[in-house]
């Protein structure tokens, strides 16, 4: 279901953003308040609840034994999925994941995969036969804009908090978890929205409803860019993209500090 935004509201939000301000009083490079809670669920190997303003996302990590892909016989498997349940927003509908949910899962997955966040080789038990399969599940509890950054932050926090279940012969003992999941990188996602001619960080729900285009960047600690996703029907100029990348890498440093326990 698509929500119709009144044209006068759209114009007003554009005017405000173009004048260098935000509806909620933030600057163009400010996040809303970010909160991270780790290890909420005993049944999961790792979990985290992240809120950015009114947006709330839970990430859960579960691990099972499985077979590796034939082209990567010595590497564990990562599977990411996201669900946008109707509780989170009147525009979300029940049923199998639709494109918006798939996009969230893919953007998060790409950030984690391409940064090499999980040391997948350490998840191999018997080469070509048996590896750990890591399921990363995202549940959106409340949607108030910028699902990408909240989801990535929740995912990496959950992975960092995850402990591997004990393996005895071929049996997995979920009650005994000890070693942390091998995580070697902390990818951070920063999402920018282009509204009118201005590019602002962390779009709120209202800003997302009127944006022309958005750009999500995933960066790692060294300052390298490891994934990008562009959305919306509008376009970015080359200068805007380069400028946004510089801003994103700088901002990610601040977010990465939040991950320290």
């Amino acid at each position: 279901m698509l929500e119709i935004i009144a044209d006068i509201k759209r114009d007003y939000i554009k005017r405000i953003v173009e004048s260098g301000k935000r509806l909620d009083g933030r600057g163009p490079d400010d996040y809303r308040e970010i909160k991270i809670e780790r290890d909420l669920y005993k049944t999961a190997e790792g979990s985290a609840l992240v809120s950015i303003g009114g947006t709330q996302v839970i990430a859960g990590v579960k691990m099972i034994l499985g077979e590796p892909f034939p082209d990567m016989p010595n590497q564990g498997v990562l599977t990411t999925s996201a669900e946008l349940i109707p509780m989170a927003s009147p525009t979300f509908e029940a049923g199998p994941p639709k494109p918006p949910a798939i996009e969230v899962a893919r953007v998060v997955d790409r950030g984690i995969r391409e940064s090499g966040a999980i040391d997948t080789e350490k998840l191999c038990i018997v080469e070509g036969e048996k590896v750990w399969v890591v399921f990363l599940d995202l549940h959106v509890l409340d949607y108030d804009g910028n699902l990408f950054d909240a989801s990535t932050l929740a995912s990496i926090s959950a992975l960092l908090s995850a402990k591997m279940p004990k393996l005895e012969d071929d049996r997995v003992i979920y009650d005994e978890r000890k070693d942390p999941l091998p995580v070697k990188e902390k990818p951070i996602s920063t999402t920018y929205a282009k509204i009118g001619g201005t590019v602002v960080l962390d779009p709120s729900l209202e800003e997302e409803q009127v944006l022309d285009a958005r750009l999500t960047l995933a960066t790692v600690e060294s300052g390298d860019l490891c994934a990008m996703q562009k959305g919306g029907s509008g376009a970015f100029t080359k200068e805007e993209v380069l400028n946004t990348i510089d801003r994103g890498i700088e901002k990610a440093k601040e977010l990465r500090k939040l991950l320290k326990v």
Binding site: I4, I5, A6, D7, I8, K9, R10, D11, Y12, K21
Partner: protein, 221 residues
């Protein structure tokens, strides 16, 4: 102080006139929603703490055109029911080759009156009424419909303070949409004030507090 009731709670076993948010069952009157009990002589109702807007005849609402058909518009009034603005209820007749979607394209905002709510919850609105109009500029703020009476205040006391002290044009629709027209700085102050009213609606002396708050904020810009 009004008492908080939960759904299913027995309110009275006397025979009374029923308002909204209550249901008569098993010889008693029960709350049907979470809210504050408003009990008067021979009349009870529960004022819901939250929830979507339930359209009532005679209410004034702010709606956004979500469809423009040949003979009617569909308005989004943040209610579960489909609300219609018939072409004949626009404040003037069509001229020449005009179509309805030329008068009010999808995305237009209007301040309309609810003319009728049928038994099957068909909602019919009108712009042929004093005060109703098309909103051509400004910002639409979503608030909880249950807080609208507090934002308007007794005999418009609160909304007049907002208008006068804030220096903006303001209309509060019964459906929980508030229209604000003014400079961005002034609008921001009004939004902050309305959010404050929403959170502190149970407190006394709110009107004076809001007056001070707005005066102070405005001296800062």
């Amino acid at each position: 102080m009004r008492r908080l009731v939960i759904p299913g709670e027995l309110i009275t076993e006397r025979s009374v006139k029923l308002g909204g948010g209550v249901i008569a069952e098993d010889g008693g009157v029960h709350a049907s929603t979470l809210g504050l009990l408003d009990e008067r002589e021979g009349y009870v109702r529960v004022i819901p703490l939250s929830g979507r807007y339930n359209p009532k005849e005679g209410d004034f609402v702010i709606g956004v055109v979500s469809e423009a058909q040949n003979t009617y518009w569909v308005l989004d009034i943040r209610s579960p029911y489909r609300s219609i603005l018939p072409g004949s209820e626009f404040h003037r007749e069509l001229r020449g080759n005009e179509r309805l979607r030329d008068l009010l394209p999808v995305g237009s905002a209007v301040y309309a009156r609810i003319k009728e709510v049928t038994k099957t919850k068909g909602v019919f609105t009108t712009l042929r009424w004093r005060g109703t109009r098309v909103l051509n500029e400004g910002y639409l703020l979503d608030v909880s419909p249950s807080k609208i009476p507090r934002i308007i205040g007794k005999k418009d006391s609160m909304i007049n303070v907002l208008r006068k002290e804030g220096g903006c044009k303001i209309i509060a629709g019964h459906n929980g949409v508030v229209w604000i027209e003014g400079s961005p700085e002034r609008t921001a102050i009004i939004i902050e004030a309305i959010r404050y009213i929403e959170e502190n609606s149970h407190r006394g002396g709110l009107t004076d507090h809001i007056k001070e708050m707005i005066t102070q904020k405005r001296s800062e810009i």
